[in-house]
Symmetry: C2
Subunit: 396 residues, 2 copies
């Protein structure tokens, strides 16, 4: 299997260590799998210590064999219980901590309390913002991995006309679509850092299904297969002349591409065709307007203005009371990375940042719009997926 | 869509309220989606207050429309920000709290801190054990839902001979297997309450793939599709005369069935055939030995003893240093519910508890064993899945 290069891990670690120094902490204990993978190149049941300066130590509960095979870190050692962390770190010369960073945005309270016992007389601070900032700027190695995930996504979208048929259920279509990605290396789950925000894998809504709102902080809900999973594909049969909305993440080698395309068996009402064209128009205007340094809220504010001018006040990014207040989101090892292209976000969009842009509209007749994945370059956003941005009509 | 009956929600709430009274708390603020679904019948971005006595209040941020349609609770109201919780509860006569329960096993530290601000001068206690205890005893309504999920699982396993072929990759097999469940209503994600413990959907290992250990607290790892997702199906091609191990969860209407079956194209070495028979033997002995009141550790201790007598010290529930110390786990809305059939677990297995039993062995040649899902009845465990417990040989 392809391993993460040592140089890549070193580069990421150095960037994060700079922020640790700025935060005046002695180091960070990193526990979330996506962060551990980012800084070690392996996903184990483990505890990672990154000192403000010096070599990190990965302490692995299970599986140490695999951790040592996969991680280019110099210090990968076995551990049985997190209580041993101070003793192991001391052997590497790391001790007498006064301030340690923890991922306080995701760490469950009871686990946090156990670290108060493991490191008595130590102050804990949240190192997640520093991790998110570090991870937000992707290396060219990461951008290639993301492009690889989107290539698989493209292949699945291009295959849709070969299996989409009138009368099949949304769930049957989801099964076939997901299988196209899966056989090409898709491996979930789709990770979100936010508490309680599962996107599962994606969202297929046909006709009125796209009008169902749900818990998710996204523009489109879907009826879902049951009240226990009220999102995406459900039991509804697919009809002629209705909008078929497919919004899917594609996670390959850990990286999460995100793309939405529209299909139809037969013909779409002129109103929906116009809405699709307007969504593409909004996207085009946003892409033209973004340069390195553009604040993350600006694309949203521009989209909001254009949508209002085009008459979509009640339909833009959800219907009426269920409208969401963003136009895009960072993508990488998680689906909700930085930058968040939303009102109030004043961070600049910098080269190396990767994000999905998704202008969408919701009508009683269904959901429609577009979504592509981009990387910011020195000259502006570059699209990473290649499936044609058109409504694909199935004529069988 | 099928809604959870009001009587079911009332019964669950009453059971939990009894425990709240025992814990001497004024009520619990429930936030985890699986717990919210259990007590409300709907999955929304919401905040649920269950008082120690009286009617619960579900405060919904998104989507209030859907929350009101789906939940049989009397009090389902809109909320914009969790800061409004005390004001809303006060309108229902709930105020002056001295002690409130929170799900401290899963609640991220930063969210916990925000509740300290929302409820000043209030002590917080962990109400997750009380929730887990309540959820551990399933009603007949829930057992029927679990049986439904396992029927879909059975159908997928029975379909395997129609598509399993020599030379396909594990990922191709996974794609086809998952599609069989998906089109019949499977909707993930597979939920685990433990931090960092993703099982994704399941595990397909063929031949030596089954010898790869990984992070997961289970007997079998698998190579996986990449170092970012080192679990289950990978790129290995499936050969003749090797063991094909398929362990999958099947989540339908929120309930998680769990089943493992063994396949082979051609013939298996006698050693592996014997190991399969011994796994079934161990399961049979366990099932005979369990009665209502049996302590949760006893099945594990019995299995450990039998495995040692049969000569599998190094192979039982993992290989050598990667062996795990349990023989089964509770199943329901999550994959790691109570009871945990593991060393040191002194809780009695009671009627209504549902669990998976999975005696398995790992050899350099691959992983083999069995797994079925059970409900405890007054007279002993009853199997909920029906796929024949045999090695299925494909002769094409």
């Amino acid at each position: 299997m392809e391993l993460t290069p040592a140089s890549e891990i070193q580069y990421r670690t150095r960037n994060f260590q700079q922020k640790l120094v700025e935060q005046a902490v002695d180091g960070a204990v990193v526990l979330l799998q996506s962060d551990i993978f980012y800084f070690t190149g392996t996903v184990q049941n483990s505890y990672l210590f990154i000192p403000a300066s010096g070599e990190p130590v990965l302490m692995v509960k299970k599986s140490i064999t695999r951790g040592q095979q996969e991680s280019p870190l110099k210090n990968v050692v076995a551990i049985k219980n997190p209580k041993q962390i101070p003793e192991i770190l001391s052997a590497y010369g790391y001790n007498g901590f006064s301030k340690i960073g923890l991922e306080l945005d995701v760490l469950p309270f009871n686990i946090y309390k156990s670290y108060e016992n493991i490191f008595p007389n130590t102050e804990f601070v949240d190192c997640s913002p520093a991790i998110k900032e570090t991870r937000a700027i992707k290396s060219s190695y990461e951008i290639d991995l993301l492009r690889g995930a989107l290539t698989v996504s493209d292949q699945a979208f291009l295959a849709v006309p070969s299996f989409l048929r009138e009368g099949m259920s949304e769930l049957e279509l989801a099964a076939l679509f997901e299988a196209e990605m899966r056989k090409r290396g898709f491996a979930g789950p789709c990770k979100m850092r936010a508490f309680n925000q599962d996107f599962y894998l994606g969202n297929i809504c046909t006709g009125g299904s796209g009008f169902y709102p749900n818990y998710f902080d996204g523009p489109v809900g879907g009826q879902g297969a049951s009240v226990a999973q009220p999102q995406g594909a459900g039991w509804k049969k697919i009809n002629r002349n209705e909008v078929i909305y497919i919004d899917y993440t594609c996670i390959v080698k850990g990286y999460t591409g995100d793309q939405t395309r529209i299909f139809c068996i037969g013909e779409l009402p002129a109103k929906l065709v116009k809405a699709f064209e307007d969504a593409v128009l909004i996207e085009t205007e946003i892409v033209k307007s973004i340069k390195p340094g553009t604040l993350a809220e600006e694309p949203y504010l521009l989209a909001l203005k254009l949508a209002a001018e085009l008459g979509y006040q009640d339909n833009f990014m959800g219907y009426k009371q269920d409208q969401v207040k963003f136009i895009g989101h960072g993508i990488g090892l998680e689906l909700d990375e930085w930058p968040i292209l939303a009102k109030g976000m004043k961070t600049p969009i910098m080269p190396g940042m990767t994000f999905a842009l998704e202008p969408k509209f919701v009508f009683p007749e269904g959901a429609i719009g577009t979504e592509n994945s981009f990387v910011m370059t020195e000259t502006g956003p570059q699209r990473l997926n290649t499936a044609p941005e058109v409504i694909t009509y199935i004529t069988c």
